[in-house]
Symmetry: C2
Subunit: 418 residues, 2 copies
């Protein structure tokens, strides 16, 4: 296992700036897993961070290395449920979470790196590897512990079996039409009005049917900026807003009330990502405006509760916040059970590249639908990836290169390593 | 700032073993803060871990050092609310939580080390430093963000003002009678029946009015062990049980039903510490047996919800799981608002030494009562501390030495550093 502490100086241009994150330096705690197989294939994974502390994330990744060193790669990759649990149930490491924060994300990156390796060895993109698994193989990936009062193994199997007859037609749909995207590129809080106006118009011209604006620092600024954005995109294109955890529940309700005239597609992260009850209060009060969250919801137990309490109506899967592909399969199954719209978070380094595989797997083998679903898109830092996302007419084009999308060019890794 | 990775090989004797933590090596990610003041006083703090990953916790502590280096110590210590926020609101570090896991505990250790330094400079034990603050100074320590729908600053002030006239009489009560303790020493899962029987009898002889048993691995073993313990302690002494997150909600309900005949004082950590809703289901079903949790509840927003949802009736404060003294003051205020019994977790290294200060502050200046409250006691590793806890007739004796209790002897730090 090799790790790299990779940091991009994005704070210089205020890309990624919002009401809570004023000056992020988009970073990756990056891991490469190598074997002694003559095929020389490597598994790559990462945790997205925003700068300081990336070295802590690296230390956490290193702390799981001993579970893999010297093990047989075929054995590890052929039972990814067991392999994931091997790391997740290390009781000494578990104390550092449990199943949350730095340690949990580290295990997620290693799990994802192993999936990357498996996909490369199978010569398929990850979405295809996952979609080709049988329902029985898929539920074997999932840790159902703590999910029993919301989703059982049998219910998950039923969902997967329901999708089975339509898999091929959905693959065809995906290969023909792609997967819907929306863009956050115009909306960073640090951009001035002229840049917002220009980028919003460019987004529409590029075929996007939705943009997203960061809000929450000043309600007067938000009203002005939403006015500019609405004028730029017209009445047909949707506008979501994102407060990045800035508000108290009551404050969120009041603030959103003042912005409602702009026809808001959803309100993202209105308050603490831990606050299931607070989100439920907001969701009830601002209905029918949907509440969205997910990029900081730390594991399947939290997602379960957000669904049980009707705290969300848009679920924003994140590829590197939870315990990797396996836990995200659990979350997709929970979303399918509760009938929730999944619209992944992807504002970061490599998050677009990674998360598209999960949404495409969801379309083919879980929910069976991309209707009213979409993946976030932000046009930063894709040039560093070997298989960068391709967006055409506001749609993600399905990746065909073997792997998970995580692999960064060696020259980029080296140039931006600290 | 100096850090030490301290690990005690407790797994060799199965001290601390339970249904989820089979072989803990009680460890401390330890921090010392020094100044250039000729008084040469140092602030000591720690995060309790159970072995592997302690080095990750150290890396996280190092990541906040830059916020303190070169700063004026008087200025930092005189406004601990602002100093705590300085670290908590570092947006790049916050991404690694937010406010949870490795990064949050690291900030907590540094906050606690600064409180240790402040108490030493004032020449008082920490409980006394906190208890002597005015209500207005106490609320300045608290970050009320995200608490608005449960506890406002004004409500907190009212609680503190209500306690004000009785502070001196409660100090006198504390100095005379001490603070009630219960013991977990007999109940580790790795101990055989004879050792359980012997230690349970010793606990009663030593004056303890409650013991705690680890359960959850096998219901038949639990029934047998509870029978031994009940026979050993008699009908007057209470027995709590601790499942350490082993169950699903329904499993907890069924399992506890089979143990109820033994007159259970409380059921601790029946399921995932993230599962507010699951705990509420259990609490309702097993009532009147109380549900307890806290050692893994990761911040004030989670505690708030456990109280709002009536998921707990025993709140187990932990000195090193959350963001330090400041966040624990918030949690004590929440408990007082909701009328909950606080019975801190202290099974670990230094946790008894640290958490007693919080309970004693609570008695004097917040809840104003030690009735039906008690602090966990475990008789491990106290010999390494400069001011070890003193238990007499089942009561914690109030510490009088200046500081927070965190300071370990240099020879112990050195001998057990890796």
């Amino acid at each position: 296992m090799e790790t790299s502490d990779i940091r991009f100086p994005t704070s210089m241009s205020l890309d990624g700036s919002d009401a809570m994150n004023l000056d992020p330096d988009y970073s990756a705690a990056y891991v490469r897993i190598r074997t002694d197989d003559p095929d020389e294939l490597e598994g790559h994974g990462l945790v997205f961070t925003i700068g300081r502390g990336n070295e802590v994330q690296i230390a956490a990744i290193r702390a799981v290395e001993h579970h893999l060193l010297g093990r047989d790669v075929e054995e590890l990759l052929s039972d990814m449920g067991a392999t994931s649990q091997l790391m997740m149930t290390d009781s000494q490491l578990r104390w550092l979470g449990p199943e949350k924060g730095v340690m949990h994300m580290a295990i997620g990156a290693v799990v994802n790196a192993l999936w990357d390796l498996r996909a490369k060895r199978e010569g398929k993109p990850l979405w295809r590897v996952l979609s080709d698994l049988s329902p029985e193989e898929i539920v074997k990936l999932v840790d159902f512990r703590y999910l029993g009062n919301a989703l059982t193994r049998d219910e998950a199997l039923e969902i997967l079996h329901r999708a089975l007859p339509y898999r091929q037609s959905r693959v065809n749909e995906l290969l023909t039409a792609g997967y819907p995207a929306y863009t956050t590129t115009p909306g960073w809080l640090g951009y001035d009005d002229a840049k917002l106006d220009r980028l919003a118009r460019e987004a529409v011209a590029a075929g996007f049917r939705q943009i997203k604006l960061k809000v929450g620092a000043s309600v007067d600024d938000d009203i002005r900026r939403l006015g500019i954005a609405r004028a730029a995109v017209g009445s047909e294109v949707k506008i979501a807003i994102d407060a990045n955890q800035r508000w108290e529940p009551q404050e969120a309700i009041d603030w959103v009330g003042r912005l409602a005239e702009f026809d808001i597609a959803w309100v993202e992260e209105p308050t603490s990502p831990d606050d299931v009850i607070g989100h439920a209060q907001i969701a009830e009060a601002i209905s029918p405006i949907p509440v969205a969250s997910g990029e900081h919801i730390h594991n399947r137990v939290m997602f379960k509760q957000f669904l049980q309490a009707q705290s969300l109506s848009v679920l924003q899967l994140d590829a590197t916040r939870v315990g990797g592909v396996n836990e995200n399969v659990a979350i997709l199954l929970l979303a399918a059970k509760f009938g929730l719209r999944v619209r992944p978070h992807a504002g970061g380094v490599g998050l677009c590249e990674l998360v598209q595989h999960l949404s495409m797997f969801d379309l083919v083998s879980v929910s069976g639908s991309s209707e009213s679903r979409m993946i976030e898109y932000v046009d930063h830092l894709h040039e560093h990836f070997v298989d960068p996302v391709v967006i055409k007419d506001g749609q993600y084009i399905a990746p065909m290169m073997p792997g998970s999308g995580a692999e960064m060019y060696a020259h980029s890794r080296i140039a931006f390593s600290v």
